[in-house]
């Protein structure tokens, strides 16, 4: 495999839980040495956007939960109330956000129950933990992805917003999601303009990208798709 790697957003996002090297592909991948890692501003913005949107989602959930629970509640049925409220709240969002919210509630059920029992102070304390958690994750992305060749991940800020018409059209025949096409074209642009050598495009996205590996590699000469497993 090639030494220069372009990282997709799921690698940047997934590697923020660097304590989970055993189970997390992205974290295991980031621990591999001897590779030169690159990404684009588009990917960087997308990764930050995941944490910012989730912060917004969770803080909104906690606020609305507290407002609803403090007005009408039965402490003996807390668990059912939490589940019912979560389902009602999550229904307003798309599938990805529903997954994140359900995962969050499931793993932090105890803290949510404490808010129901403990009131405003518990809410305030837990909100602070949530905010600080996301600050840490976002700060770590900004520490790692810098427009500097000495950075852990070299971020390229000069990729055009739209380009490579011919390649774009061909890729859109196999990939439905425009952002994925543009990220692939970012890697192609960076490879052609800056790296010159062939590069690996590293992603865990099977449904949109990896399952179309041979078609994509035919269109983007010098890009080799890779899953970090």
């Amino acid at each position: 495999m090639f030494r220069d790697h372009f990282l997709d957003a799921n690698i940047l996002v997934g590697s923020r839980i660097d304590w989970d090297k055993q189970h997390n592909l992205a974290t295991k991948y980031m621990a591999v040495e001897g590779l030169k890692k690159h990404t684009s501003k588009r990917v960087y913005n997308e990764s930050k956007g995941v944490f910012e949107r989730t912060r917004r989602l969770i803080l909104s959930y906690l606020k609305k939960f507290y407002e609803e629970f403090s007005v009408s509640s039965n402490p003996l049925r807390i668990d059912q109330i939490i589940k019912a409220f979560t389902k009602k709240f999550a229904d307003k969002f798309e599938e990805k956000e529903q997954n994140i919210l359900n995962s969050f509630v499931e793993r932090n059920f105890g803290d949510i129950r404490n808010i129901a029992l403990g009131g405003e102070k518990e809410l305030g304390d837990f909100k602070k933990v949530v905010i600080d958690t996301f600050k840490n994750a976002l700060n770590s992305i900004d520490r790692d992805c810098v427009p500097d060749s000495k950075a852990l991940i070299y971020r390229y800020d000069g990729c055009p917003l739209t380009y490579y018409t011919k390649e774009y059209i061909k890729l859109s025949e196999v990939i439905n999601y425009e952002n994925d096409i543009l990220v692939l074209l970012d890697s192609y642009f960076i490879k052609n303009k800056h790296i010159i050598n062939n590069i690996c495009f590293v992603t865990t996205d099977y449904n949109h990208i990896l399952k179309n590996k041979s078609e994509i590699e035919k269109v983007l000469n010098g890009i080799s798709l890779m899953c970090p497993d």
Partner: protein, 317 residues
């Protein structure tokens, strides 16, 4: 069809507001707000109610019909503009006009008197507060406009006048933690409709960088005028962009303005592009000031690990 500029009923009502107190001088947007309250309180069968259609915009509830009639009154020397400070003026009544004698006008005038009676014209901000907190179409609006933006304006004013640190804040927002907390509350009250998705994403990015600026101020404790001014500047753009979006929603305008929606949507779309770039520049400036390797990092607690793991797992599944 509503009459623009020659509505004797509206002109009569506007002049009546000034007669509540001797030599009363008011900001123009206070007139809009008082008549907004009137519109809400008028019974449905009063014809005046439909004469004052509103939409929510930069200064709260706004009516182009009222605005045109105020302009007409100024042009005809019935109202006069008095400058008070840079770019700020008050309106005063120069002469009274003959009032309509219809039943609907008399009823509207009575309700207007009752509303005006309860408005403290010398401390109009409490009335403004009431209008936003009770009637704004979205909870984000009073939080951001009245709580966050106002506090940042006061901070920049204090620092400009020589008071050095944000920790010298008194009154309602006595410290930086509270200001940051308000910002996160604003974030959790953003409209969930698709019209606002791009705005919400840029706003959250603005929140992240503002949090970093505040962390930097807390750590450095030095003169923060530059940082405070930058936050205020982007916060003002945030509000103006938001206002262009909220008027598009059904909850943000009366049906009278439906024929303006195409123009409004286009203006909002342009402002979103501009806002995205402004936030991007703000983010870059904040990072240039703070420097990436100085961004705070704490060893995650077990609770933090739990939260982050659940987020990442949810995202990757």
């Amino acid at each position: 069809m509503l009459q623009i500029g020659t509505d004797r009923v509206l002109q009569g009502l506007i002049t009546q507001i000034f007669l509540r107190k001797k030599d009363n001088q008011l900001p123009k947007y206070a007139i809009h707000k008082i008549l907004f309250k009137l519109q809400l309180e008028l019974p449905n069968d009063n014809s005046v109610k439909k004469r004052i259609p509103f939409y929510w915009y930069n200064h709260g509830p706004f009516s182009e019909v009222i605005e045109n009639n105020i302009t007409w009154l100024k042009e005809n020397d019935i109202l006069k503009e008095y400058p008070i400070q840079e770019e700020k003026t008050l309106l005063g009544l120069e002469k009274e006009i003959k009032l309509p004698e219809t039943t609907d006008f008399k009823e509207a005038n009575e309700i207007l008197n009752s509303i005006s009676y309860h408005v403290d014209f010398y401390h109009i901000s409490s009335f403004v507060d009431e209008i936003y907190r009770k009637y704004a179409p979205c909870a984000f609006m009073p939080l951001f406009k009245l709580d966050f933006l106002k506090a940042m304006e006061e901070y920049v004013k204090r620092v400009s006048s020589g008071q050095q640190t944000l920790n010298l804040f008194i009154d309602d927002y006595s410290n930086l933690d509270k200001l940051e907390s308000i910002l996160y509350d604003c974030e959790s009250e953003l409209p969930l409709v698709s019209t606002f998705k791009p705005f919400n994403d840029s706003f959250s990015s603005f929140v992240t960088s503002t949090g970093r600026v505040f962390d930097y101020i807390r750590e450095e404790g030095e003169d923060t005028l530059f940082s405070g001014k930058e936050v205020l500047s982007i916060a003002e753009v945030t509000w103006l962009t938001f206002a262009k979006g909220i008027r598009i929603l059904d909850i943000g305008h009366d049906k009278y303005y439906n024929n303006k929606l195409d123009v409004w949507k286009n203006q909002y779309k342009q402002s979103l592009i501009s806002y995205y770039n402004d936030v991007d520049n703000f983010n870059s400036k904040a990072l240039a000031e703070i420097k990436q390797d100085r961004l705070p990092f704490c060893t995650p607690t077990e609770r933090s690990k739990n939260i982050l793991s659940s987020v990442v797992e949810g995202y990757l599944n």
